[in-house]
């Protein structure tokens, strides 16, 4: 137990230490304070929104149903988050060191699992607790209901972490190990996630409300059988997941190798070579792809789904014509864009290899451009193609189509280049694994939260302008001009300020 405590404490301290980014304690504390502030602000915003939503149901007596939908959404988001910690069998850098110490493998695993549990709990609190707070605000206080909710909130991360370990085991052992086997592993994991989306969509829109109400009431009444099943199931899945991952740890790592030595026959520029290098490294890293391929795959899946006119009833209810669909598509594409930020850790992932870029005769702007352009190329061509296909089928008006084409791309540019700049400000070169860089670095958190704020503000701007008395042409042009200008500013900042920071690193 002592070893588990020491290891978990070590992981948390090194994780929090990693959030510091730069060595300066003041800057690190400030940066950490910014993260906490953003988290609290987001929590407050979500709670406020949930309170407004629940208020509307308070008089109907269906507040439990609102709580239920909150749980479904929260579980879905937490599972998505947990799935992104799947590594495809990649060992953390500290594993060798720990295995050489008088610590059992099971203790290492439990400590890793516990630290992952705590991280998932942070996400659960953000996504589910606002619904609980709103529910408690509009219903008479019940201690039993509170305990039921607390226990459920504590069990959900156990379930999601266990599931992620089980999927990791399956992807590592059951999928092939060829050169781009990581791509297969990433696509397999993301396909599971997409399947979850459809399950979620079914639960939200098709499930009999009586069933959801009954389930939530069991939770609120602390029904013994329900709670026992929940606790038992969550603990069992968690234990199974940890057990399977321990098996993985014992396994010898297999890496791809070919007998063919392929020389490149054409000369390329340093920029193209850097871009190719970024692409190669991306395609060879399961954990990186799993955390960033959801956006591109979801964009394609959504675009295909949109061809079946799922939003026609909603458009009719809101009194919008076909062009109204553009806003929904923009929101979906922009949402996927802010979830896809590989550049926010591209500098950190250089890690101890950073000396290669620093010692080479390449301009800093070339390095930064290559990283930014990679982030853009991951999404923008796909979004452009999907937008054009949707336009050909749906026939939006010109200005709507231009907005649909340019706004998500501009957001992609902001996220791609902004991610590079944020990572330059908060690099993390000494992480114990790529997963730690991707999930636990300050630049990751800032990018994730900043992206949500950006899209939220843009959505609010569109809403205010469209519902105002302004002609529609201005309601579309103003946000478009603002976001394009912002993209230009971010790129310029990255290549000027970013260049100076890179030089000092």
């Amino acid at each position: 137990m002592r070893n588990i405590y020491l290891l978990t404490k070590n992981y948390l301290i090194s994780g929090l230490g990693g959030l510091r980014g730069k060595r300066s304690r003041v800057k690190g504390t400030l940066g950490f304070g910014v993260i906490v502030l953003l988290y609290v602000a987001l929590f407050a915003l979500l709670t406020y929104c949930q309170m407004l939503f629940t208020k509307g149901y308070a008089d109907t007596g269906l507040t439990a149903l609102v709580l239920g939908t909150g749980y479904v959404m929260g579980i879905f988001l937490t599972v998505c988050f947990a799935f992104q910690t799947i590594t495809g069998g990649q060992r953390a850098n500290d594993t060798e060191l720990l295995l050489a110490m008088p610590i059992k493998k099971s203790e290492i695993m439990v400590a890793k699992a516990l630290s992952r549990y705590l991280l998932n709990l942070i996400i659960v609190i953000l996504t589910i607790v606002p619904s609980i707070v709103a529910f408690m605000a509009y219903t008479p206080f019940s201690g039993v209901a509170l305990i039921g909710n607390v226990v459920t909130v504590l069990m959900i991360p156990l379930l999601t972490v266990g599931l992620s370990y089980i999927i990791d085991f399956i992807t590592t052992l059951c999928l092939p190990n060829f050169k781009y086997g990581n791509v297969v592993k990433a696509i397999f994991t993301i396909s599971l996630l997409i399947a979850l989306v459809f399950v979620y969509e079914y639960l939200m829109f098709n499930l009999d409300p009586i069933i959801m109400l009954r389930t939530v009431n069991y939770l609120l009444a602390f029904n013994p059988w329900f709670m026992l099943t929940l606790i038992g199931g969550a603990v069992a899945i968690f234990a199974l997941g940890v057990g399977l991952f321990t098996i993985l740890m014992n396994r010898e790592a297999r890496t791809y190798a070919t007998k063919t030595v392929k020389f490149v026959s054409k000369k390329t520029t340093p920029f193209c070579s850097l871009l190719k290098n970024e692409t190669n490294r991306y395609l060879n890293s399961t954990v990186l792809m799993i955390n960033t391929l959801l956006g591109p795959i979801a964009i394609v899946a959504f675009s295909i789904w949109l061809l079946f006119d799922p939003f026609n009833p909603l458009l009719e209810t809101l009194g919008l014509d076909n062009n109204g669909l553009c806003f929904i598509i923009m929101a979906l594409f922009s949402g996927m864009t802010i979830l896809t930020y590989p550049t926010a850790f591209s500098i950190s992932l250089e890690g101890k290899q950073f000396w290669i870029l620093k010692s080479m005769p390449i301009k800093q702007t070339t390095v930064l451009s290559a990283k930014g352009v990679f982030g853009v190329l991951l999404l923008s061509p796909l979004m452009t193609i999907c937008s054009i296909v949707l336009e050909c089928i749906k026939h939006f008006d010109v200005l709507y189509f231009i907005s649909l084409l340019l706004v998500p791309v501009a957001i992609n540019v902001i996220v791609a280049f902004g991610g590079v700049l944020i990572n330059l400000l908060f690099p993390k070169f000494n992480a114990e694994s790529d997963a730690a860089v991707i999930k636990q670095s300050m630049s990751s958190f800032i990018m994730m939260l900043g992206g949500m704020v950006l899209v939220g503000l843009l959505g609010y701007l569109y809403f205010e302008l469209i519902t105002s008395s302004l002609p529609i042409i201005w309601a579309l042009l103003i946000p478009l001009i603002i976001i394009v200008l912002l993209a230009v500013v971010v790129v310029t900042l990255t290549l000027t300020l970013g260049k100076r920071i890179f030089k000092r690193l």
Partner: protein, 233 residues
């Protein structure tokens, strides 16, 4: 080829990395840079190759200032760090292709040089494997291949023999000798004084960030061993 004049590096926390160093390495020289741990060797080397900025002084590579034109200096310099941390997610040949592209080496030259050095160091058959499967010595060899294939004018090495098997070490010494015979210059830090004695014609001994002895190997050694000189410095 390499001129370091009044070079000083003081870190942000006040620690003196190097103070007022003056070093000259001409074409044809192999200069050993020796000193105890934490004496400023790696600091100096990192400033030479442009991965670390410095406070005062001047570093010239082939009469080009590292501060004023770092890109031109990097084009003619090859650096091999003490720890060969390179991209684990690439294969050996992918890494070499990447380096060759950045240094603008023609495909024909690149193919020929990679084959030459990879066969010398017995790594050719492993170039198709992922770097993450390489041992420390294999990574060191790959970095050496990537350095020599560029035909640099100045080679800067930080503990190049660490991790190499005896055959690879022998080959490295031969390659270094051929390199300087063709007009190149080598500046390398090492703790292996016996090798430094045999192959270097110049030596610089540094302690606490300052040079305590510098000059031709035969003059510094006189009738003692380099180890004795170092320990008594």
């Amino acid at each position: 080829m390499l001129k370091i004049k009044n070079f000083t590096k003081i870190y942000a926390n006040g620690k003196v990395g190097a103070k007022d160093l003056n070093i000259e390495v001409a074409p044809g020289d192999i200069c050993a840079f020796i000193g105890p741990n934490g004496s400023g060797k790696t600091t100096t080397i990192r400033c030479i190759v442009g991965t670390l900025d410095f406070n005062e002084g001047e570093i010239l590579i082939d009469n080009i200032s590292v501060k004023q034109d770092p890109l031109a200096c990097k084009k003619i310099t090859a650096y091999i760090p003490d720890n060969p941390d390179i991209y684990n997610t690439l294969t050996g040949i992918e890494y070499l292709n990447f380096v060759a592209a950045v240094y603008n080496i023609s495909p024909a030259d690149r193919d020929a040089r990679i084959k030459l050095y990879a066969e010398k160091w017995n790594l050719y058959q492993d170039l198709g494997a992922m770097i993450k499967s390489y041992s420390h010595g294999m990574r060191q060899k790959l970095v050496l291949i990537s350095a020599f294939m560029r035909n640099p004018k100045l080679l800067v090495l930080d503990e190049p023999f660490v991790g190499l098997d005896p055959q690879a070490s022998f080959i490295l010494k031969e390659v270094m000798n051929d390199f300087v015979k063709n007009g190149g210059a080598i500046f390398y830090s090492t703790h292996v004084l016996e090798v430094a004695e045999k192959i270097c014609n110049k030596v610089v001994i540094i302690k606490n960030g300052t040079i305590i002895k510098s000059g031709a190997m035969k003059d510094i050694k006189a009738d003692k061993s380099l180890e004795e000189v170092f320990l008594n410095a």
